[in-house]
């Protein structure tokens, strides 16, 4: 059931109530409703304001370094011996991931609304770093909530945020990951609505966040589309991106949704395997619809509707939900959602380092692991475009531990086999 206004289109959602089919909506306490409605109105004004987009373009060009290159991964293509593989290099952005695309947009919105204090949740720390960066640039107070477990496994990013002037609050409730950080950020927001803007890092949450984050991240897909036409004279056959909440993925996918010939695959974190109920973060492959953090979407939950703690080696994918537009794209069948295990992602992480001289983040390593599965079976004229949405500097400690390398106090080169 394609979206509202154009009967054959997938790109017109959400509807006025923030719905993508049956998903999305505004499931927030009344204390947040007036602000949510204000935000929606302000975003609508900004979206129609050429001056807003001129400022975005200027920031994207001179501060982020866009457009990010579309890169032919030649040695990887040779190694896998099948499909032609391109990377969309969003790891080359300022702050090292796609997160900054969205953060700058929302900071401009927050300033238009007269808010002076920004709160954000972060998992891997990439969104926290991007938020702290933008707040430093614009002189805004910044508070980042981060699960205590993530604070430990992403120490370099914690230090970066502090350098950038942010207050990092470790969250000890729950298992201390992204879900718990999200709860605390929302509690802060509920308590400080008068001066505080909640800068959500993924295409989830209450309307208008999923739409707004998608619109800002769609710069990825718009560029990739034009770059692919220039490089190959045609569109790619398959798009692949990793999904936690799903912002880098929807950013790449959205401008291609109505290109029926382009196959689209979202890769969820399979952790220790889908047969282990609390051992993965694959909300679509291993969850069912529910309501959490402002939206109706696929969630990991038990039989009584209690939210389950997921698991993934990648802190950025360690979240029990997924953006509502993905839930809808899954139900319509437009996008395929698959899962990749920690082990498969680690193998892809290493292969990318060795063959391309690029240390990827563990998040896009999941997307790459799926590419490794399908590429060998495909012909050379099949073009795959994968979103390399983050760089792996932040992950070398986690990867070293998983690969059994003791880095001790002395940084050692990442694993070799």
């Amino acid at each position: 059931m394609p979206a509202e206004t154009g009967i054959n289109s997938y790109v017109n959602g959400p509807d006025e109530n923030g719905r993508f089919g049956g998903f999305g909506g505004r499931y927030v306490p009344e204390a947040l409703m007036p602000l949510t409605l204000d935000l929606e109105a302000e975003y609508r004004r900004a979206k129609a304001d050429p001056a807003f987009w001129a400022e975005m373009d200027d920031l994207w060009t001179h501060y982020v370094g866009r457009p990010s290159p579309l890169y032919f991964a030649e040695r990887l293509t040779e190694r896998l011996g099948g499909a032609t593989i391109y990377f969309k290099r969003d790891e080359l952005n300022h702050t090292g991931a796609h997160k900054i695309n969205n953060v700058l947009g929302q900071v401009l919105i927050a300033r238009r609304m007269g808010k002076t204090r920004i709160v954000a949740e972060t998992g891997a720390g990439q969104h926290g770093v991007a938020t702290a960066t933008a707040c430093a640039k614009f002189g805004l107070k910044c508070v980042v909530y981060m699960g205590a477990h993530d604070v430990e496994r992403q120490a370099p990013n914690v230090f970066r945020m502090k350098l950038l002037g942010a207050e990092v609050v470790p969250v000890t409730s729950g298992r201390g990951t992204l879900k718990d950080a999200m709860n605390e950020a929302m509690r802060d927001w509920v308590s400080n609505v008068h001066d505080t803007y909640f800068l959500l890092g993924t295409a989830a949450g209450a309307h208008p966040y999923p739409q707004m984050v998608r619109d800002f991240q769609s710069i990825i897909g718009k560029e990739a589309r034009a770059q692919m036409l220039e490089a190959e004279g045609r569109l790619p056959d398959t798009l692949v991106a990793a999904i936690g909440g799903g912002s880098n993925a929807i950013g790449l996918f959205h401008p291609f949704l109505d290109d029926a010939k382009v196959a689209i695959v979202g890769v969820e974190a399979g952790g220790r395997g889908l047969d282990n109920k609390t051992g993965h973060c694959a909300s679509i492959s291993g969850g069912r619809p529910g309501v959490l953090h402002g939206n109706k979407t696929y969630l990991l939950q038990d039989d009584d509707g209690q939210i389950l703690e997921g698991f993934s080696i990648s802190a950025g994918l360690d979240y029990p939900g997924i953006g509502p537009e993905h839930a809808w794209l899954h139900e319509t069948g437009r996008v395929d959602y698959v899962a990749i295990t920690d082990k498969e992602a680690l193998a892809a992480f290493q292969l990318c380092c060795e063959t391309e001289g690029i240390i990827p983040a563990l998040e896009p390593a999941h997307a790459l692991a799926y590419v490794m599965k399908i590429a060998p079976r495909l012909p050379a004229d099949h073009i795959i475009c994968m979103n390399l949405c983050g760089r792996g500097d932040k992950d070398i400690f986690t990867a070293a531990r998983a690969l059994g390398v003791d880095m001790g106090g002395m940084p050692q080169p990442a694993a070799s086999q």
């Binding site: 306490p29 409703m33 409730s173 709860n183 008068h194 529910g290 939210i307």
Partner: protein, 265 residues
Amino acid sequence: MGRISETFERLRSKNKAAFIAYIMAGDPDRTTSQAIFDGLPAAGVDIIELGLPFTDPVADGEAVQMAGLRALKSGQTVRATLDMVADFRARDTTTPVLLMGYFNPLFSYGVERFVADAATAGVDGLIIVDVPPEEDDDLCRPARAAGIDFIRLVPPTTDGVRLARVARDSGGFIYYVSVTGTTGAAAAVPEEVAPRIEEIRKVTGLPVVVGFGIRTAAAAAKMAAVADGVAVGSAIVSKIAENGPVEQALEYIGELSAGAHSARA
């Protein structure tokens, strides 16, 4: 007329404000929780709010969060909470019982099935904090159709046109949240609350109850002087967390109730 309106009517005729107590169902375990629940009317509680535990209570402060986790750890489920209400109803047919919590466990249970089972068990109202009027079709309308009041929280930030809309969409009473924030946050100030209650009374004929940030009998008395009812949650839940005998928790609740009931004496 339902139990909620009958209760406010009866108290109004005695020139008294309602005292509303919140406990978390299944905290610290089902048996203890049922014993406290059953003892509430004798402790002077006019309306009971029974919390439905949820893993991710974004509108609650630490006391209620911890209570929910204790309840879940003891194995509490939606069905078990409905069973607690049915057990209570076998002994008490007049005290209104409200269920307070978050939407996902009810969505998971199945909304139609839930409202039917809740009505059968003897539930009078629902306070489900993450379902605003924008999402009425999900729960508010089915609950109303089953004869269950859908009670809305009105925080200080909701005013003007939106206040009228939220009030129009409420049943039972209006629950005025006296502080901006989560449950158990800063203490409420009666001087600030009184004008807001007047504002709410201009747009609805429903009773107005004040909650959030009331921790003592004296504070309950002050709020009861300006509102139709006073709700206490986090302070009671914190008392229960001390794990003393059931009587001790009920005694404390009795003191709060006496405070609320003394206001207009």
